[in-house]
């Protein structure tokens, strides 16, 4: 038996039987090991003090004796608790129902116009809503503005919904820049036979796109 086993055995002895004796092997170990002998003495002292406390408590008398006739029947005691649980369950169900009602309440979707688009010369002077803009099916608007060679500048303008726009980007992106008066348009043919706008319109559109 080593020291750890000895300590374990001594504590077990105190737990199971406070006044119990040591095993022969444990007694043999305690005779050889001084620290274990001291440990055994400490535990024995502790056990004696426990016994003294227990004997002191055994002499104590209760100031009153329980009278069972003063206690209500089981059912009377238990009934309020049952109703308490029922009330709590009903309250929880009501809260749950209210939460479901709020969550699934029908809501109207508000359509808001998000910001004005350029509409300087729009005849109606109306701000279209975003949804209206998105409904305009413009697969592609292309602006080709080459400022390097002013003579060869081609600006592709389209008229969409009464507004002449210079489109950039994909179908969901429309940047109206300037109205375009189709009556003043003077197409000319150059030497190569290309269709061109006159110079004043080109410069105007070029400034706008810049």
């Amino acid at each position: 038996m080593n020291c750890r086993e000895f300590e374990q055995h001594v504590r077990d002895r105190l737990i199971v039987d406070v006044q119990g004796r040591l095993d022969p092997s444990a007694a043999k170990h305690a005779a050889k090991c001084r620290s274990c002998a001291a440990y055994f003495a400490d535990i024995t002292t502790l056990g004696d003090r426990f016994e003294a406390v227990r004997e002191a408590y055994d002499r104590v008398e209760s100031p009153s004796v329980f009278d069972p006739s003063a206690v209500q029947d089981d059912r009377r005691v238990l009934r309020p608790r049952v109703f308490r649980f029922a009330r709590a369950g009903m309250a929880a169900a009501a809260v749950l129902a209210a939460a479901m009602l709020i969550r699934h309440w029908p809501q109207e979707v508000a359509h808001e116009a998000v910001g004005p688009v350029a509409r300087r010369d729009s005849p109606e002077n109306v701000v279209p809503a975003v949804d209206d803009l998105l409904k305009i099916q413009v697969p592609r608007l292309t602006a080709l503005a080459s400022y390097e060679d002013d003579e060869n500048t081609d600006i592709n303008l389209r008229t969409v919904g009464g507004i002449t726009v210079l489109g950039v980007g994909g179908p969901r992106m429309i940047i109206p820049v300037r109205s375009y008066d189709h009556d003043d348009e003077k197409d000319t043919l150059d030497d190569r036979g290309d269709s061109r706008t006159d110079k004043s319109d080109r410069s105007r559109s070029g400034r706008a796109s810049a």
Partner: protein
């Protein structure tokens, strides 16, 4: 009480049972007034719910379980209210314990037990002060006997260390 379902069963010795429950509450709480209240409350609860008691559970361990639970509640209220009883003063100020109670080994041991963690304190009191076996203490606390034993091992180690330290301190003061 008339017509109850438990009228046919044997009645315990209420005087002896009240004494044992009161002693257990006194050792758990350390206050006679609180122990009297706790003992009465535990007996009322135990008797009101006697229908749930299994046949193999003795009246003493049945009532002891309620006593432990009532004492836990009172202990918690005491800590919440910060009510200072004599025992609290000892717990809060170890110097008072050393100077005022060093001559009384029994009181000193009791105070050391009260300073243990809750689980260790309860198993120590049930086993050594109330004289229950490990099995009975496990029944009262509603836990396996192995848990009771492991807590007792820890408690014994702690108590042995603290009492040895105080004995050394007494010897030094004696010199």
């Amino acid at each position: 009480m008339t017509g109850g379902p438990h009228d046919q069963e044997e009645k315990p010795d209420f005087a002896e049972l009240s004494n044992r429950v009161y002693r257990l509450c006194l050792s758990l709480l350390g206050s006679e007034v609180e122990a009297s209240d706790a003992g009465q409350e535990a007996m009322v609860r135990a008797w009101s719910r006697r229908g749930s008691r299994r046949a193999e559970v003795s009246w003493w361990t049945w009532c002891g379980g309620f006593a432990v639970r009532v004492c836990r509640e009172m202990w918690r209220h005491r800590q919440r209210d910060r009510r200072v009883s004599e025992l609290d003063v000892h717990e809060l100020n170890p110097a008072v314990v050393r100077e005022g109670l060093s001559q009384d080994d029994t009181t000193r041991l009791h105070v050391s037990v009260m300073q243990l963690p809750r689980r260790q304190r309860e198993v120590t009191i049930l086993r050594f002060f109330a004289g229950l076996s490990v099995q009975e203490a496990a029944q009262v606390l509603g836990c396996p006997p192995g848990t009771v034993k492991s807590n007792l091992h820890k408690a014994i180690q702690t108590l042995r260390r603290s009492l040895a330290d105080r004995d050394k301190l007494d010897e030094l003061q004696g010199i």
